[in-house]
Symmetry: C2
Subunit: 438 residues, 2 copies
Amino acid sequence: MEPVKVGLLGLGTVGGGTANVLSRNAEEISRRAGRDIIITHASARDISKPRLCDTSQMKLTENPLDVVSDPDVEIIVELIGGDTLSKELVLKAIANKKHVVTANKALIAKYGNEIFSAAQKNGVMVAFEAAVAGGIPIIKALREGLAGNTIDWLAGIINGTGNFILTEMEQKQRDFADVLAEAQRLGYAEADPTFDVEGIDAAHKLTILASIAFGIPLQFDKVYCEGISKICREDVEYASELGYTIKHLGVSRRTDNGIELRVHPTLISRERLIANVNGVMNAVLVHGDAVGPTLYYGAGAGSDPTASAVVADIIDVVRVLTTDSENRVPHLAFQPSKIQDMPILAIDDIETAYYCRLTVDDRAGVLAEITRIFAEFDISIVSMVQKELHNSQDEKCSIVLITHKTIENKMNSAISQIQSLECVDGEIVKIRLEELDG
Amino acid sequence: MEPVKVGLLGLGTVGGGTANVLSRNAEEISRRAGRDIIITHASARDISKPRLCDTSQMKLTENPLDVVSDPDVEIIVELIGGDTLSKELVLKAIANKKHVVTANKALIAKYGNEIFSAAQKNGVMVAFEAAVAGGIPIIKALREGLAGNTIDWLAGIINGTGNFILTEMEQKQRDFADVLAEAQRLGYAEADPTFDVEGIDAAHKLTILASIAFGIPLQFDKVYCEGISKICREDVEYASELGYTIKHLGVSRRTDNGIELRVHPTLISRERLIANVNGVMNAVLVHGDAVGPTLYYGAGAGSDPTASAVVADIIDVVRVLTTDSENRVPHLAFQPSKIQDMPILAIDDIETAYYCRLTVDDRAGVLAEITRIFAEFDISIVSMVQKELHNSQDEKCSIVLITHKTIENKMNSAISQIQSLECVDGEIVKIRLEELDG
C-alpha cells in the first residue's frame, strides 16, 4: 500500500519531536499500522531556521494554508498552538475532508464542540490524545478502555510545571517565587507563567477529560480555576507534618446535583499513589463504578512524550482511513446525539474537606471561639494543631486544622465569621482536601 | 439499530459481573457504542444454581456448544477459564464467524498464535483486555496508546494474590505461609495456590504483554518463572531497611542479544511509584523510547473490575462489526506478517542487580573471603551490612549485600564458589533487584 501522507503545521518542540519519532520508529510504526507514514509537507513561521528534525524529505512553507489545502495530504497534524489561527486551519482542513491530529488543549477545550460537529459532517476524525497529559494515553483509556463503566469521578495532576514547583517546595523547603524562577530557567515554565501557575492549562485539560468521562459538552468557561501562586512554604510544611502532600489537581465528579468541574491546590494523603507523583510527571486517577480506581502516569509534556501521543493518534487515524465514519469511536466517547448537558455545580455547592491555617492571639479562649463557629455551621474538625510562629515575639500563633467534608458555601460563611473575630490576625488560608479513595 | 446479541460462556464470578455491568450501565454503554448490547444466550455447568446476575432475559443451557453455534449471536464471551474446553469453544466460535471476547490468559498465552491466525482467516476479532491486569486497560495502552514507540521494557505487578501476600509480609511482619492461609480464607487465593504463588499466572500475562510490546510470537514456554513461596520475612525486613520493597514482577526487556522474559521476586527502590502499589492492586510500568516511563494502575482481578475490561472489549468489537477486517488493530499490535521471532534470552544471560543474604561465621576475615570472590567475577558491591541473627548463640551472623548490575551467569558462579566456603552456613539467598528508572 501507498504510504500515508501527513501534513505538519508547526516545526517547534512538538512538531520536531513528531517528525523525529515518525522517522526514528518508522519500521516499528509500519509493522503496527500496516502502512508507512511520512510527513510530506510542513509549515513553520520561519522555514530558514535550523530544526531539531530532518526536513529534507518535506516540502516546506511559511503559509500553513498551503499544507491544509495540499491534495496529497490525508492527515493534518496541528502543532502550532493558540486558538485563533489554529482554529481556522483545523476547520479548513476538516472542510477539505482531511483528518486532523492536534495537541492543542486550548483549541479543543474552547472550540471542540464546533470542531467535532464540523468533523462529523465531513466524515473525518479529529484526534487529540496529546492535548491532555502529554504521552499518557488517558483519552484512549477513558474513552475506550473504561467504556463499560459509569465514571464516578476523576482527579489529575495535569500540569507538569505546577507539579514541579510544588514538589520542589515540599522536598527542598523552597518558596514559590524562587522555584518558579528556576522552572523558567530550566524551560519548564514560560516567560509568562500565568497559564501554568494560575491553573488555566489544567482547566483546559480538565474540560476535555470531564466531557469524555460524563458525556457532557465541552464547557471550559464553567471550570472553577485556582492556581498555586498563593501556596506558602509553611502550608506545604504543615500539610507534610500531617501526612499530606499539596498537589494541583483537576477534579471532576458526578453528583446527584450535577457535575463538579474544578482546578485548585489540594491536600492528598501521602498514602495515595497519586500523592507520590513528583516533578514534571503527570497522573490521572479515574474511578469507574465497575473498575474502581485506576491511575495513569507518565510525562505530561516535552518533545518526545507529546510526540508519542501525536503519533499514536496518527496511527489510529490511518487505521480508520477506509472505514465508514459511522462506526468510529466518537470524538467525546459518547455518540454526538447522546451528549447530555448536565448542570455544572458552582464552586459554592461542591462538597469537600478543608485544610485551614489561621494566625491568632496566643491566649486562652481563642480555640473555643473558633471551634464554636465551625460547630454552628455543622463543620466537624478532624484534627487541629497549634504551631509556634517562626517570628513569635508578637504573641501570635498559627492554628492548623483539617475538617470533615462540608459544602463550600458553609465553609466560606464559617471562615468569614471567624475572620472577623478580634483574635484572628491576617487572612485565613483555606486549601481543599480530597480523600480520593474507593 | 438492532441490539447486538452476545452469547456468554460461564456464569461464575466474571460472567456474572459482566452480565451485571452490561445491564447496570446499559444506558451509558449504549450512549457510547451507539447500539444496545444484550446477552441473549448463556451457558453454565449447572443452570439450576442461583446466580449473582439476572438471567431472566437469557436462554440458558448447560451445553456451551449451543451458544457457540447460535446463529443470532454475533459475539461470544468466553469466561469459563482453563485451556481445553475453552480452546475448543473459541475455535468453534471463530469457525462460525463470531467475534470472541475472552478473559482467559492461559488460553491466549499458550494457544494465542493459533487462535489469532484462525480469527484472521475468518475475518473476526478476538479481544482479550481482561486477560492481563483485570480492569486496567493495559492491552489497549500498549497496543494503541503507545503505538508510536519502540518499547524498551516493561515490568508489572500482574498477580494480585502475590502482591497481597508480599504487602502483608512487609507491612505486618508476617510469614509467607501465614498470609497465604489468610488469602485463601479471604478468597484471594485458590485452594491450590500454585498458579498464583509460583508465578505461572504472572508468566501467562507477561507472555501476552511482551508479544504486544515487541511484536514477537506468544511463547509462554520460554518465560523464566520463579514464585514468591521462598521469600522469607527477614529478607522482606532487610530489603525494607535498605529502602527497597520486594515485589513479584513480570519483566520483559529488549536487549541487543534478544528479549528478556522473566517472572520473579524483585527488590525495587521505595522511591519508585510501582513500589507503592500494595495489596491486591496491579500495575504495569512500560518504558517507550519516545514517551519514557508510563504506569497503569488498578484492580487486577475481581468480578466487576474484570467485567469492566470484558465490556470495553465487547464495545470495541461492536464498533468494528461493519468494518472490513483489514483495517482493525492487529491482535498482537503488529500486523501478523510482521511478527518477528526474536531470540528469548536464557535466564543465565540476563543482566540485573542482586540482593544476597548469607549466613556466615562471625569472625575476622570472612568478609574478605567473600568480597574477593565477587571481585574475581567482576561483580561490584553497592552496599553491604552485617546483621545479628535473631538467634545468635551459635556465633553466626547474616551478611546482606546489594550488587551492581551483572550477568546472572557470573552471579551464579560467584555464589556457588562462596557457597562452598567453610565460613558460609546454609543456602545463600539471591533476589534480583531492578532499578526501573528512565
